[in-house]
Symmetry: C2
Subunit: 459 residues, 2 copies
């Protein structure tokens, strides 16, 4: 609970109409895409960096935890106010400040929705590649804080690779700039990339300078079906080994295909055990040549079917298979734990085999799909929480999935972050010295531990 | 001066044959590519991370400054032992530990010479793009610590974009891993990229995992000559605006061309005021098309001559113009200050005009060339130190050049780093709050300030 005088001071900072303390408003800001919920004491909607600075200075003086929040679409509880405090929502900072066509960059506020930004730059023939699945509602500030990825990361990289500079309010309320408008720049420590992916624990991003690219001339989509996981996995290495870096290399395992087929009747071949949705983009003639080459080199790998889209409508039809995955999963079981492990590309078949064993051990359905080009697999553990004991089984399975990824030289998360959901598992991946180093940085920037406290590190 | 017992303990750690205290050895490690010199008290050549850890623990206990050093080819004094202490040379850690062709990555030790690494991966059809001018002698550890760039950064990015993970000895002697073998990974803070470009002030890199690419199928080199700086600068934006991102876009101004021509008689057209050396790489047919397109779109911009290489020998001949720049400069004056400012691409003509004014103001020759695609211009202030007052003029000109770059939205350094040489100018670029944030991080990781102290920040 916040005292009335504190609420009063917050009202003075952000305006009475930009603070909420009624239960219904608190509930709206108590959850994200995980199944966790924590009620804040108050929600503030500041309008600019100066107001955010003043909120943080007040919070620092009074030792009140502050939890930055974008659209609340995160998959790891990174924005949830566990323990209570102030949720600081950045959605009013939602302007695209400028798009510089000559220097291929844009400056935006953190509350801009990802897809809206993409549409605006595309109108000018430009391209912002990062495409997290949540792009229709997630904010760019959230994308930066979580270092969001997406299918196009194989060729273009993740959010980090497009952030040139930031304006940030530090936990102490200081407003600083990091990086700048040039891609090269080596003066001082790389605070920009320290902040990207720091999950709102080191600062509140108030401006972002993004690098842009020219929009690719054309793209070509292929749906390729294999009679084994190994075939699909070898296809990934074979394509890249032939000097083709596709834009996307999306993978769906047998369980995923069964899910989608059961509900939407895809008419996939009976031998289908894995599907790769492949897209290439760039010069119109080059992608024709690449598509033909891809067909040629993957043919010997147990290829059952090769569909190539002739136009945008056919491309959309092929993507439908991938987009139907999420709505189909709930048919297996109503509740889902969605983890996003990563392994070195060549280890994808091994990790899928390990997950099959985990599935048998715990006797719960696990469905795998994701970004095979990066080795980034979304592992969906499907349970029914109403069934006694099933949630505990899921927790055991999740720990085993993380151990499998780490055993194979991978990581627990490629896109979703640690937040609250992976916090208990951190010691599996990071050594005490690594954790101590990160905590020392946190303490250096947030001496009173008021910004998104209790996240990421073991508590 | 180090006491004899300290020398004795260092000998026990690295072996008596791997420590040097004789004046001639100290002199060899007292300088770099700047014109500064500082004698260390001792030089150690450890053989592995464990020995480095023990050296740092000893140094911490005794509060002895330690200065990590690769090949000593840096351009900012980053490895120089100002104030004395121990120079820690990493050249004995010079193994390429593995090249993983399936996952397109390599693990190396920091003492591997950049060009040697490139040659080894190229034998396997792979590609490590970063190409600092010093690549024939610089080490990969130095490249990582300075975040080295090079001509190919336009298309491929800088060293930072290829570092996936590190093994680092922290100033306290702790050995940690950062990042890993997967390109995606969001567990914990991005210590990898905090360390890249930290100029040896936060840790000693002992292993590096690099991302690799498939080696491009072909490349095409063009030497394009313009009748004005503006024409050449507009050519850069026009090419990129036409969806072509060349591998390199190297720029030489009129003063540079005169220098080279005077010595090597290039036979450039009389109207030549600027040259762009352009290279594209990739699919054989695509680059033919791109070269034709480049010719078409830059023709209206005051193009005086367009030479395109038909084969590798002709390509080498065109590159010769660029390579002759450095040896030609000394004809202007014997001493050189080489700064590497960056401005947004569109501001290249403005900054060149400002530099012309600075040249007139101080009446000293300034020669500009560099990476126009990134807006990264190497500004060479040519003086004769024997002439009284000329060095002071150079210092004034350098400060003005930095101010011009910053006024235009740029940075003082795109590749060389701060080290000692840009330290006095840091407050021009970074705010007190930015500096305080960086110093807090330094203090968190190096509480006794023993690792490369007195660098980067104002002292």
């Amino acid at each position: 609970m916040l005292d009335e005088p504190i609420i009063q001071r917050l009202k003075e900072i952000v305006g009475a109409e930009n603070i909420a303390t009624e239960t219904q408003d608190l509930i709206c800001n108590s959850y994200d895409a995980t199944q966790m919920e924590f009620l804040p004491d108050a929600v503030v909607y500041p309008g600019n960096a100066e107001e955010i600075s003043r909120v943080l200075k007040l919070a620092n003086g009074e030792r009140i935890p502050v939890f930055p929040r974008g659209a609340g679409s995160g998959f790891s509880g990174g924005a949830l106010p566990k323990g209570g405090g102030i949720v600081l929502v950045t959605t009013r900072l939602n302007r695209i400040l400028r798009i510089d066509q000559e220097n291929l960059l844009a400056e935006v506020e953190p509350g801009v929705v990802t897809e809206h930004f993409q549409q605006e730059v595309e109108k000018l023939g430009l391209f912002y590649p990062p495409d997290p699945a949540s792009l229709k509602f997630s904010t760019l500030g959230g994308n930066v804080s979580e270092n969001a990825g997406g299918p196009r990361a194989v060729k273009y990289g993740v959010t980090r690779d497009f952030v040139m500079g930031l304006e940030v309010v530090l936990p102490t309320g200081e407003i600083i700039r990091t990086g700048g408008e040039t891609y090269k720049g080596v003066v001082g420590y790389d605070l920009t990339r320290l902040l990207v992916g720091s999950e709102g624990t080191l600062g509140v991003v108030t401006k972002i300078i993004f690098k842009l690219l020219p929009y690719p001339e054309a793209k070509k989509t292929m749906l390729t079906t294999f009679d084994s996981i190994d075939g699909a996995a070898r296809a990934v290495s074979t394509i890249i080994g032939n000097k083709i870096i596709p834009t996307t290399l999306e993978f769906m395992d047998h369980a995923t295909l069964q899910c989608v087929d059961r509900r939407f009747n895809l008419g996939l071949p009976a031998e289908a055990r894995a599907v790769l949705l492949i897209e290439v983009d760039g010069d119109r003639e080059l992608i024709e040549k690449q598509a033909a080459k891809i067909h040629e080199v993957i043919k010997p790998l147990g290829l059952v079917e090769f569909k190539v889209a002739k136009d945008a409508a056919e491309s959309e039809a092929l993507w439908k298979v991938r987009r139907l995955v999420s709505p189909s999963l709930r048919d297996v079981n109503p509740d889902k734990y969605n983890e996003d492990i990563v392994v070195p590309r060549s280890k994808v078949p091994d990790v899928i085999r390990r997950i099959e064993q985990i599935q048998q051990k715990y006797d719960i359905p696990i469905v795998n799909f994701g970004h095979a080009g990066d080795g980034n697999i979304h592992v969906n553990i499907m349970i029914d929480k109403a069934v006694p004991g099933m949630e505990e089984k899921a927790h055991g399975a999740i720990a085993d999935v993380f151990r499998a990824a780490l055993d194979l030289g991978g990581t627990m998360s490629g896109e979703h972050g640690v937040g609250l959901s992976k916090q208990p598992f951190i010691p599996l991946e990071l050594s005490p010295a690594q954790i101590a180093t990160m905590q020392a940085i946190k303490k250096a920037l947030d001496p009173n531990n008021i910004l998104n406290p209790g996240k990421m590190f073991p508590v």
